[in-house]
């Protein structure tokens, strides 16, 4: 367990510096606070409505189902990678450790992740409940104890789903494509529900009693949880505890009894006999860029985590094509509450903000991992290797952004000036992010990973690039709305931003050529 946790927080046997710890603590505090506020906004209208109808239990039942859903969504892919796919499974199996203990150590890490997610919902839900004057000591005790058990229920489901993913992954022919399609479909479903949550909430409040009755029949564990907390009812708490502990115990017994078999069974792949054919020649940079893209497409976890912005940009473009009026209607509603907003301005900000979720270049140096020796021993300069990684990022990021920009331009541009802004300015920003991501990865590399997920999802460079990009868009939008709006027109401000992005790209490029190259040469291959 200590080993697994160390792999998350300690690099190459060294603890992170105090400054780095403080920066990341602040970053986590910022993200945590933002998410708690988000959940607070979601739950605030429920407490008055449900308590007025005598359905306070529904408030807690919905809290429990939210924690459950987030727990499953948040851990299913991590469980698939950490429990069924890490590189160190064989090493651990060779040690005198029971397979069940390996499983427990990995499950404890997942429970830690779920506990953090749960806390983000628990805090606002509890504050809202206490502020409404409905809290009781017994209820509080059951809320805390029940919340401690909730991750078990979520984990039972995510473990089974992760197992299913791993079994399906071994049997299907186009494993990567299938994993990718299933994951994107899963994500679209999740986003669809999330984007309609306000409507569901309004329906829920309007038809509270009807919904409560259906909910209590369909979701007995959450019903028991809700009644236990709202009424301080120990009998219902015991029922909920059984719902949480029993399935988890059964899933754990099932997995631990088969864990050795699961880890050691490899379905052989069909042997493809080589047929000699002419090999085509490419230039060095093109060959290196193709290699980066081949890696990217071979790893669904990398595609999903490092280029999710492109997925959203393409989905957004499709949505704009099929549902133009509704999308523009929503944008108009948004414009009404944002000072100084215009259609082209929002189009630029939207493509930049969504595109900033692409952070592939911030992982590609780390993802070299144990094969870094190849890039280091080849007769190509470090800058060429770095450039290939940036090219791969741009290939994945620029084209979807361009498609989205062109469609947005067709929908909202009123002249060549709007067109130029919508198409060019987001590209200057996304190019800057591609270069900056590579620089961040060279400053914060992580080569000792055992699963790619640790790099693309949990590494310092990936998080810094993701939050940094989004922070820049948010910061520039706020700067305009509250400070610059009276000083200059929006289109002038956007072009100024574009010029700053170009200058920043040149500065980052200059850093890469000196500091970046030095850091690459200093990496232990």
């Amino acid at each position: 367990m200590r080993g697994v946790l160390a792999s998350l927080f300690v690099r190459g046997g060294h603890r992170p510096s105090r400054a780095r710890t403080i920066v990341f603590a602040l970053l986590f505090a910022y993200v945590g606070t933002a998410l708690m506020l988000l959940f607070g906004v979601l739950f605030q209208p429920m407490i008055d409505a449900f308590s007025g109808m005598g359905l306070t239990w529904l408030y807690f039942a919905l809290y429990a189902s939210m924690v459950f859903a987030l727990g499953v969504v948040g851990t299913v892919f991590i469980a698939s990678a950490q429990i069924f796919g890490p590189r160190d499974n064989e090493l651990l199996l060779a040690l005198p450790i029971r397979p069940g203990h390996i499983l427990i150590s990995r499950i404890l890490v997942l429970l830690t992740v779920e506990a953090v997610v749960t806390l983000l919902v628990l805090v606002p839900v509890t504050v809202i409940w206490l502020r409404a004057g409905l809290g009781s000591v017994a209820g509080m005790l059951m809320l805390v104890a029940g919340t401690a058990l909730l991750p078990l229920l979520a984990l039972s489901v995510s473990l089974l789903l992760a197992w299913l993913l791993s079994v399906v992954g071994q049997r299907v022919r186009f494993k990567n494509l299938v994993t990718l399609v299933v994951s994107v479909a899963f994500l679209i479903g999740y986003l669809y529900i999330y984007s309609n949550i306000q409507r569901y909430l309004n329906d829920l409040i309007a038809r509270g009693e009807e919904f409560a009755s259906a909910f209590s029949r369909a979701m007995p564990p959450f019903y028991s949880f809700g009644v236990a907390v709202a009424e301080g009812n120990p009998a219902q708490f015991a029922v909920f505890a059984l719902w949480a502990v029993l399935p988890f115990g059964l899933v754990f017994l099932l997995l631990s009894s088969r864990y050795l078999r699961i880890l050691t069974t490899r379905r052989g792949s069909r042997r493809v006999r080589y047929q000699a054919r002419e090999l085509r020649r490419s230039g060095r940079l093109l060959a290196l860029t193709r290699k980066e893209l081949a890696y990217f497409w071979s790893r669904p976890a990398v595609v999903l985590n490092s280029s999710i912005g492109s997925v959203f940009l393409l989905l957004g473009a499709v949505l704009l094509l099929v549902n133009r009026d509704n999308v523009l209607g929503s944008v108009e509603t948004f414009m009404a509450v944002v000072p100084g907003a215009t259609f082209p301005g929002i189009a630029v900000a939207a493509v930049a903000a969504v595109g900033s979720a692409n952070n592939l270049s911030s992982s590609l140096v780390s993802l070299e991992g144990r094969s870094l020796w190849i890039a280091r021993s080849l007769p190509v300069g470090p800058m060429t290797v770095i450039q290939a990684k940036i090219n791969a990022h741009l290939t994945v990021s620029a084209l979807p952004a361009l498609i989205a920009s062109v469609l947005l331009g067709a929908a909202v541009a009123e002249g060549p000036k709007d067109w130029a802004a919508i198409v060019l300015i987001p590209q200057t920003f996304l190019v800057m992010l591609a270069f900056a991501g590579a620089a961040v990865n060279l400053v914060l590399p992580r080569l000792d990973w055992i699963s790619e997920v640790q790099v693309v999802k949990q590494s310092a460079s990936a998080m810094a690039a993701l939050f940094g990009g989004m922070g820049i868009v948010a910061g520039l939008a706020l700067l305009y709305a509250f400070l610059v709006r009276d000083l200059m027109a929006l289109d002038a401000y956007l072009w100024l931003c574009g010029a700053v992005f170009v200058a920043a790209t040149i500065a980052v490029y200059a850093f890469l050529r000196r500091g970046g190259v030095e850091r690459f040469e200093g990496l232990a291959a």
Binding site: S269, R271, V272, R273, Y274, Q275, A276, E278, L279, R280, R281, S282, G283, R284, L286, A287, L288, R290, K291, A294, Y295, S298, R299, G369, R370, S371, W373, I374, R376, S377, L378, P379, V380, G381, E521, G522, A524, A525
Partner: protein
């Protein structure tokens, strides 16, 4: 072909390689022997330009690895002790990628890839994903990729680990053939019998310092290389 002069590399307080000098001439197979942690891999990685060293000079074919790293890498082939290759590629795509980076003409790469693959009996598996290869197959692929650009210097870290006897023999023959063509081979090994039979010269390293080096017959004297090695080990303790 390879000149190492006063090479020193430290990790924190530990001197992994301490003032090491050796020369490998064209046509020579040079064995590098030492216990685990003696400094073999550190020396090899420094030669290949993938590890920065503290002081000393390394030249390959007259080119300084620090000042002209790309020229040196273009003349060198390196095979690490554990060939972690790009397992998301097929064998043939990996070889073609290496040929691209070394800028090998299309006709030449076709001929060389197939010649060396046939020699190491890997041709039939070239369409398979590297992730499905055994350790020995990966080692063979790494060796083929190292030969595509006809290097002047072959630097191999434990090259026989994982190879079956037939492939092991083929690699030894290849090493001799390359040396006959004017190249040089510098390799580390723990298998002293192999070093004794194959190497024109050997160097024994202990605690980062060379404790013996020269023509194999001279280093060995009237005893076996194993006896000399064990004797030097015990003398130094």
């Amino acid at each position: 072909m390879l000149r190492i002069e006063n090479l020193t590399k430290t990790y924190g307080d530990k001197r992994a390689v301490d003032d090491l000098s050796l020369h490998v001439g064209p046509g020579e197979i040079y064995g590098f022997i030492g216990h685990n942690g003696a400094g073999k891999t550190t020396t090899i990685k420094s030669v290949c330009g993938i590890l920065q060293f503290d002081s000393g000079t390394i030249t390959i074919d007259g080119h300084d690895v620090r000042r002209e790293p790309l020229l040196c890498k273009a003349r060198t082939a390196y095979i690490p002790d554990n060939p972690d290759l790009y397992d998301f590629m097929t064998g043939i795509k990996y070889l073609n990628f290496i040929a691209d980076v070394f800028d090998i003409d299309a006709a030449l790469r076709n001929e060389r890839i197939h010649r060396y693959s046939d020699m190491l009996e890997l041709t039939a598996d070239l369409a398979g994903a590297i992730s499905s290869y055994s350790h020995g197959m990966k080692q063979k692929l790494a060796i083929i990729s190292a030969l595509i650009h006809e290097p002047r210097l072959l630097v191999l870290d434990e090259p026989f680990v994982g190879l079956d006897p037939k492939a092991s023999r083929a690699v030894k023959d290849l090493m001799r053939q390359k040396c006959d063509e004017g190249a040089a081979v510098f390799f580390s090994t723990h298998v002293l019998e192999v070093a004794e039979r194959l190497c024109d010269k050997v160097a024994i390293i202990k605690g980062g310092r060379l404790v013996a080096h020269g023509p194999t017959d001279e280093v060995r004297g009237d005893s076996s290389l194993e006896d000399v090695f064990l004797e030097l080990e015990s003398d130094q303790q």
